[in-house]
């Protein structure tokens, strides 16, 4: 059951990442590219967590990847909401 949920989550992360990648392709807004990369990282860390389930020493590394993905998303949102200098 645990592996089923983990696999579903990994697939959902990957699908969301692909959607964000499509949004970036259509709009060239870097927020979507960063989101795509972050969700790709989250999919990878979910797979890593399942693959390393029996290895206690390596347990922290997927969570470091997760943290980096969340930090990327926070940075992307803050970057998007940054006040822009008026042009002209």
């Amino acid at each position: 059951m645990r592996e089923l949920i983990s696999g579903a989550m990994a697939m959902a992360y990957a699908v969301a990442g692909l959607y964000f990648l499509r949004f970036w392709r259509d709009s060239r807004d870097r927020l979507f590219l960063i989101f795509a990369v972050a969700f790709g990282m989250l999919a990878a860390q979910r797979v890593l967590l399942t693959a390393l389930a029996g290895e206690q020493d390596a347990h922290i590394y997927p969570y470091v990847v997760r943290l980096l993905a969340f930090l990327l998303i926070v940075a992307a949102i803050l970057d998007k909401n940054r006040p822009r200098a008026p042009s002209g």
């Binding site: 059951m1 645990r2 949920i5 983990s6 579903a8 989550m9 959902a12 992360y13 699908v15 969301a16 959607y19 949004f23 347990h59 922290i60 969570y63 470091v64 997760r66 943290l67 969340f70 930090l71 998303i73 926070v74 949102i77 803050l78 909401n81």
Partner: protein, 85 residues
């Protein structure tokens, strides 16, 4: 080190949820709502991770903490599929 990582995962996922839901509140863009709700689920998952690993390590909450994350992700995928063109 692990405690710091678990705590920061919880805090950053909460920050993501807050920023996205605030963005939805100010702009009304529904994708922000679905993404915000996703991160509410992920934030719950990460708070439960911290509780599971550091507060009550003798109890295995791994199955329970995955459920809010999965629910959040399903909401995001629904929003992406149904609300976007």
């Amino acid at each position: 080190m692990a405690t710091v990582v678990y705590a920061l995962c919880a805090l950053t996922s909460i920050a993501c949820a807050v920023l996205l839901l605030r963005g939805y509140a100010s702009s009304g863009v529904r994708l922000l709502l679905w993404a915000g709700l996703c991160f509410v689920g992920l934030a719950l998952n990460n708070v439960l991770l911290f509780v599971d690993m550091r507060v009550v390590p003798e109890v295995d909450l791994s199955a329970w903490r995955s459920l809010p994350a999965l629910a959040g992700l399903l909401l995001l995928v629904y929003g992406l599929v149904w609300e976007t063109r």
